[in-house]
């Protein structure tokens, strides 16, 4: 009964991630932490990055928050993507994700870079929902800034 376009927005992977949220939970301390609020809906996220100081690699990403299926799945998918990335690698992925999200459906996200998170590509057709998909990534971006500014 629902259109294929809607099925494109809410792919099975997204609904699964929205229900079983990977990386959910915050640690008492982290190498970087950011809190972001989506002003259009009032939803929010707190996101932490943990770093291997020696190798400069991000070991894990944790988060807590509430929001729509898109925002929750997006944070969950991000937390799958990050472990093992150097800081610059995360920045590269955030940039690639943003470009795809802002493309109004004209740019397919790059699977090489973004892995399973490419399933969020359909969101870019729904301007009002782009902020939902971006919420965790903006938080990650701010956290990265803290790491690089240290």
């Amino acid at each position: 009964m629902s259109s294929t376009e809607l099925q494109g927005l809410y792919q099975q992977v997204i609904l699964d991630h929205a229900r079983e949220r990977h990386g959910f939970g915050l640690a008492a301390a982290a190498d970087a932490q950011s809190h972001q609020l989506n002003p259009t809906c009032g939803d929010e996220i707190t996101l932490q990055l943990h770093l291997d100081e020696v190798t400069g690699v991000i070991t894990s990403l944790g988060w807590e928050g509430h929001g729509c299926a898109i925002s929750q799945a997006s944070a969950s998918l991000l937390s799958d993507l990050v472990p093992g990335l150097p800081v610059a690698g995360l920045t590269e992925r955030i940039d690639a994700f943003r470009v795809a999200m802002r493309s109004k459906g004209t740019i397919e996200p790059d699977e090489e870079l973004l892995g399973d998170a490419v399933v969020l590509g359909g969101t870019s057709r729904y301007i009002a929902r782009v902020k939902c998909a971006m919420l965790a990534w903006v938080a990650a971006e701010e956290a990265v800034l803290q790491l690089t500014e240290r």
């Binding site: 259109s3 099975q12 809906c41 009032g42 729509c68 299926a69 898109i70 939902c132």
Partner: protein, 432 residues
């Protein structure tokens, strides 16, 4: 049950006829006929309103209250006729109607003018509006941000204290608490006539009684009542009332502040500029009486005229009948929603009075996902906190989905919406 049940409602055939006046209702959205259930945010506009504004620009456009040429005289006449139309609509006198750009501006006008009085503007006549430490402003926990933030800011600027009347679990105001809160320190009581989230109609008489007993002024937020119920500001006994044209068939950019004549003439000006003065020197100015006193600069002329046309349209259909029609739709909405597993309606439950509006939470599904799913089949509802965060917090939710009706809403549309909500549950649940 509702006070309007004695009045005939609109027949389905009549609603169908009315719908022809609203071409946008014939649009298709995502391949489906548009089902517009977001009139609580903003209503659609009939052709007669669009035509009134266009005709004005094609034949009469000029600056009003200035200059003596023919177009200017015509424009002024239309503009003031619209004021008379709106005044009659709410039972007020012409000079008690001030044009604003929306209800939000109307509330800010009163709050800022009181702030100005608190700083000594307006002299002795305005002293009754002055606030300071120890004075209290009372609102309710169900207010739209428009009727909360201006008072918070006024309190912060003057040192007054903001207090609020809490809500019972069924979404009604705690009148026992109201009686305890409203007292000799209360200077203003501001509350909404109809809640934009709960659909409840507040007991105006009781609240006005409590406020006037202690000499407090009453401002009524009539945003959700003026479009849907017949309103008489004099019999309600309020001192000020505000509403927005865009929620009652008129264009955006026009709203109304009603104020009792002697209050408006004692209140210091808010916005200052052209067309509201008698004499200006480099040192100071003398201000005109109300309403001009509050209408600085070039006014929203075509929008006022369009609001007059909107009021004519509403009056021709009949506010009593519109209210009866919407009460039926409201009942249908609540009964239908209550029957869907996992849906929780905020505010009065089945069998209690409400307007044609219902906000609800679907267990485990975010309101934006509900809204997105419905939009996919052409059903337009509103999602989020509806500019009432404290109210949502009170009910333990961050956001809800809201369906709201108007005179052009059909029972079929309500049914389609209900079917859509049921399928939403299946869609997001089916993948479990």
């Amino acid at each position: 049950m509702t006070t309007t049940s004695l009045v005939d409602s609109l027949s389905p055939a009549e609603v169908d006829r009315l719908r022809l006046d609203f071409p946008v209702l014939g649009e298709r959205v995502n391949g489906h006929p548009l089902v517009y259930l977001d009139s609580g945010a903003t209503s659609q506009k009939p052709l007669s309103v669009l035509d009134a504004e266009r005709e004005y620009y094609l034949h009469e456009n000029a600056a009003v209250h200035r200059g003596a040429h023919t177009l200017a005289a015509l424009a002024t006449e239309r503009f003031e006729d619209a004021r008379t139309t709106v005044a009659r609509f709410v039972g007020a006198r012409d000079d008690e109607i001030v044009w604003t750009s929306n209800a939000t501006e109307g509330i800010n006008l009163v709050a800022y003018a009181m702030g100005n009085a608190s700083l000594g503007r307006g002299g002795a006549a305005a002293a009754r509006f002055a606030l300071g430490e120890g004075d209290e402003i009372v609102v309710t926990e169900m207010e739209h941000h428009a009727n909360l933030l201006p008072w918070q800011e006024l309190a912060a600027r003057t040192g007054a204290t903001l207090r609020y009347i809490p809500l019972a679990d069924d979404g009604t105001l705690r009148l026992d608490e109201a009686a305890a809160i409203i007292g000799s320190r209360t200077k203003v009581l501001a509350f909404t006539h109809v809640s934009n989230v709960l659909g409840t109609i507040n007991p105006v008489a009781e609240l006005v009684g409590l406020a006037h007993a202690v000499g407090a002024l009453v401002l009524l937020d009539a945003c959700q009542s003026a479009p849907h119920l017949s309103l008489d500001v004099v019999s309600l006994g309020v001192d000020f009332a505000v509403f927005s044209g865009h929620k009652m068939l008129a264009p955006t950019g026009i709203g109304v502040l009603y104020g009792r004549r002697e209050l408006l003439n004692a209140l210091p000006p808010f916005l200052t500029g052209g067309s509201m003065i008698t004499t200006v020197t480099m040192q100071g100015a003398e201000y005109l009486p109300a309403p001009q006193r509050f209408e600085a600069g070039t006014q929203k002329v075509s929008q006022s005229i369009a609001l007059g046309a909107a009021v004519d349209y509403l009056t021709a259909v009949g506010l009593g009948r519109i209210a009866a029609h919407e009460a039926e739709l409201g009942r249908r909405l609540v009964e239908g929603l209550a029957a869907i597993d996992g849906v929780r309606v905020l505010g009065p439950g089945v069998g209690h009075e409400r307007v044609g509006l219902a906000s609800f939470d679907v267990a485990g599904i975010h309101s934006h996902d509900v809204g997105q799913f419905l939009d996919d089949r052409g059903i337009a509802v509103r999602v989020g906190h509806h500019c009432a965060q404290p109210l949502h917090r009170r009910f333990g939710v961050v956001s809800t989905t809201r369906a709201s009706t108007y005179l052009y809403t059909t029972t079929d549309e309500v049914d389609e919406f209900l079917a859509g909500v049921a399928e939403t549950v299946t869609f997001f649940g089916a993948h479990a």
